[in-house]
Amino acid sequence: MKATPLSNCERRFLLRAIQEKKRLDGRQCYDYRNIRVSFGADRGCCIVELGRTRVLAQVSCELVPPKPSRPTEGVLFFNLELSPMAAPGLEPGRQSELLVSLNRLLERCLRDSKCIETESLCVVAGEKVWQIRLDMHLLNHDGNITDAASIAGIVALCHFRRPDVSVQGEEVTVYTPEERDPVPLSIHHMPICVSFAFFHQGTYLLVDPTEREERVMDGLLVIAMNKHHEICTIQSSGVVMLLPDQILRCSKITAVKVAEITELIQKALENDQKARKEGGKFGFAESIPNQRITTFKMESAAVDTNDVEEQAGEIIAKADPPSEVFASPVVHTPGTAQIGEGIESSWGDLEESEKEEAAEEEGESEAAAFECEKVETEDTSTLKETKSDEPIVLSDSEEEEVVILEPQELPRKTRTQTSIKQENPSKKAFNKRRRKKRTSR
């Protein structure tokens, strides 16, 4: 799928609008788009919508042996996928440059910031630790994947609960949710990325660029920060010519945005927690915006299955009963058998014992010719080789293919060779001869 090209007039208009401090969606330069967080029924699952950009995140866990270098620490694994549904031009399984850099940035934001305590994920030092896996999927790309993914990632991590475990001696017991309440991860702080797009050689900057704005921007600056105003990651890309005070300005804006977003996240987490605790409804079904005309819901509906048994019985009764007549197998040689007659196959059919005699006889008559062929070779060595084929007899009724490697059990077929012995292969999968229907002509 090819992406639609950007026309010259769009490019010019967008840049002019930015100069006039106008944005397509009516935002101010430093405005973030609306953020919506919804949780799945599973723990550690959320969808974050940043305007029309949408990211799904899911956290999962598994008991694994720790890394040898860090025997008392859990393992963290992060992965963002750009699903081909997110935009035309994204292909499955392709590690584009964009994807690699996004993953590296998220890794730095979530792992290097040490926001998750990995020591608490150790079960048995050097033997078993929890591996926490965070999968993120971009579902719709309308710009600023970084921020959306970083929010989705941290929300999913906060929402996640791993099974409780206990260790007694060597025995590790993993409890089901019914036995013991699952435990949350211990998260020290929540780093959140805020992206700034730069235009006109760094003169203008926009927070949270949309996809179209990204297509005309010169460069991007991403700052990850937590609500304690600690910068966790800072990274620029593209052509960014920044003055020191611009970076300072950006970090101040970041602090404000991070505070807002953190509050929003916490509220969303609390609401979900409350719904779960009070036995209310939760999960994606609850977060579907009912008022929209594009959504529709149906309550649990009954399906009448009263007489399906009769209906099924009728179908079976009407069908013909299974035929009692069927072909009986013919065993050719030990280990090889066949059912069905007839159709020639180019692999040749396997031997049929009754015909062996015929083969034998013909073989005899050909023996002389065959030996001639082999004379020289047999002179030079005790050649154990046997012929692969019968020489040319084109009798139309019976033409066969013969087989050199006869099993020991059938010594009569060793024919002129005297030396065939131990190397006989034990089976005859490929000993074959062509059999024609004699009746055919």
Binding site: P5, N8, L24
Partner: protein, 259 residues
């Protein structure tokens, strides 16, 4: 089985203006039944009696009736034998001969331009298919420019071909679209609505302030007003029309003109 299929069928007239789904069978008045087959043949042969029914987008002939192949609202135009078609809210454009569309130039290749029109393959447009163009006097077209043109060839088996002149060699409004202004995309359903004669939305908008507007059947809209701000307002209103009722739209417009 045939009986079952019949049971599903509903008289076409009864469903006009209603939502139909693929697989629905529309029954036509009985007198169409006998000669349903070979419909097209006779049409082209010109021997068909008047009152031949036209079967438009989203519908197929199926025995005596019509089979719906797209979801949307069933439309009917009386007159002659009448015409039925399905109006659907689709985003992806499929070129149709005679459609006026906005294309983006993606390449110049020999004597033709390649244009992205949002279909499954690029359309071609000859250098000479502009008003007044000759071998010497070629139009000044750059990659990335917008062109408003019309399909002269568009079918499923051939590469679509566009021109910017009508049959008399005049541009009649087609050609390169100005360098200013803004391009955006809406659903094909909305475009059809906007292009309908006496479209309320356009009429209401035109009372706000003057602006230029080009509507492509491929869902692309180019708009240019005096200022960036004014252009943006038009863009936002048109985009919002996708899901607004007339009532909501009037309220929004009133708010704007109040400002």
């Amino acid at each position: 089985m045939a009986a079952m299929a019949m049971e599903r069928g509903t008289a076409a007239e009864a469903l006009v203006g209603q939502v139909v789904l693929p697989g629905d069978l529309l029954l036509l008045p009985a007198h169409y039944d006998e000669d349903a087959e070979g419909e097209r043949l006779r049409l082209s042969a010109g021997t068909a009696p008047q009152g031949r029914l036209l079967c438009g987008p989203g519908l197929r002939r199926s025995g005596a009736g019509l089979l719906v192949t797209k979801c949307g609202l069933l439309r009917h135009r009386p007159g002659g034998g009448g015409a039925y078609w399905v109006d659907s809210q689709q985003k992806r454009y499929v070129p149709v001969k005679g459609d006026h569309v906005i294309g983006i130039v993606t390449a110049k290749a020999g004597d033709v331009f390649r244009l992205d029109v949002g279909g499954s393959e690029p359309a071609s447009l000859s250098y000479l298919a502009f008003e007044g163009a000759t071998k010497r006097n070629r139009p000044n077209v750059q990659v990335g420019d917008l062109i408003y043109g019309q399909f002269v060839v568009a079918n499923k088996d051939m590469e679509p071909e566009m021109v910017c002149i009508d049959s008399s060699g005049k541009s009649s409004g087609m050609g390169i679209i100005g360098q200013d202004g803004f391009l955006f995309k809406v659903s094909l359903g909305l475009i059809r609505k906007l292009l309908a004669p006496k479209c309320e939305i356009i009429q209401e908008l035109s009372q706000l302030y003057p602006f230029e507007l080009v509507l492509g059947m491929n869902g692309r809209i180019w708009v240019k007003a005096k200022t960036v701000q004014q252009t943006l307002i038009i863009v936002n209103i048109l985009e919002a029309c996708e899901y607004m009722t007339a009532e909501q739209r009037k309220q929004a417009l009133a708010k704007l003109s109040g400002n």
